[in-house]
Amino acid sequence: MPVLARWIEAAGIPTVVVTMMPSVAEERRAARIVGVEFPFGHAFGMPNDRVMQRRVLELALRVLAGASVFGTRVDLDVEWPVPLREAYRAWQPKEPSPIVKKMLEARATS
């Protein structure tokens, strides 16, 4: 996704990446980054929590329009309101993805 953002940015459209893995977006050299410490699939926050969602989007817009240097990263200081163990389980698919299944099978046979 940070690479896709780079290609769009290079084509002349300013971009900001809102991501739960901001250090990876930095490594991949995204132009503008907003970090959120949220589970995967929840870039803008908790379902139906309009206040939280608005905090994320407003920060993203501020960084998008206000960052003056390449690689600007701002992290959102909002804690995920669900206990870690529960949240960690909740975001994951019911069955492992094909690539994870393949990795697990390779590990089992090695």
Binding site: M1, P2, V3, L4, A5, R6, W7, I8, E9, A10, I13, P14, T15, V16, V17, V18, T19, M20, M21, P22, S23, V24, E27, R28, R29, A31, G35, V36, E37, P39, F40, G41, H42, A43, F44, M46, P47, N48, R50, Q53, L57, E58, A60, L61, L64, A65, G66, F70, G71, D75, L76, A87, A90, Q92, P93, K94, S97, P98, I99, K102
Partner: protein
């Protein structure tokens, strides 16, 4: 406060992401200045949650991914800002899409963006946002050659001044 990028990631996956550096050929900075006022700018959203319109669009090709686990459907979908929650599907084998189906705003906050446009925070929102499915083959060849140029053409056609991307 510094976000822990690996807080919700299973520990065994961390080496797949951490310390890999830039994508090959993508080392140099890319930068397009944001020159207009935000209140005069039209904003577009892009999600990689694999959202699609159930009635009029094909879902992302998950059977293809099951057959070839290193591959992910590189196509994209145009998602109308006015699409209702019940019209949207989620095709993504790497996340639990239940929360997105319950409230698509957590991945593609089209209603919220319209609200900010109504308040004058942004100038406007595009009529049609963008959705991709984020799991892709490592070289990203189809994304680079086909999908990215098509998305750029779509954003221009929509009059987008800037884009907010959110990985799933």
């Amino acid at each position: 406060m510094i976000v822990d990028s690996y807080r919700f990631l299973p520990r065994t996956f961390r080496p797949l992401y951490e310390g890999r550096g830039p994508f090959p050929g993508e080392e140099d900075p890319v930068w397009t200045p944001f020159e207009k006022r935000l209140s005069e700018s039209r904003i577009a959203l892009l999600t990689s949650a694999g959202i699609y319109l159930k009635r009029s669009q094909p879902p992302f090709d998950l059977d293809g991914e099951r057959a070839r686990p290193d591959w992910g459907d590189p196509s994209w979908r145009s998602i109308p800002a006015v699409a209702e929650k019940g019209e949207l599907g989620v095709g993504h084998l790497h996340i639990n899409g239940a929360d997105i189906l319950a409230d698509p705003e957590i991945a593609l906050p089209t209603r919220l963006l319209e609200q900010l446009a109504g308040e004058g925070v942004v100038g406007g929102a595009v009529a049609n946002h963008v959705s991709v499915m984020g799991f892709q083959e490592r070289a990203l060849s189809d994304w680079r050659q086909t999908t990215a140029p098509a998305i750029v053409a779509h954003l221009r056609e929509q009059g987008a001044d800037a884009l907010v991307l959110a990985p799933a």
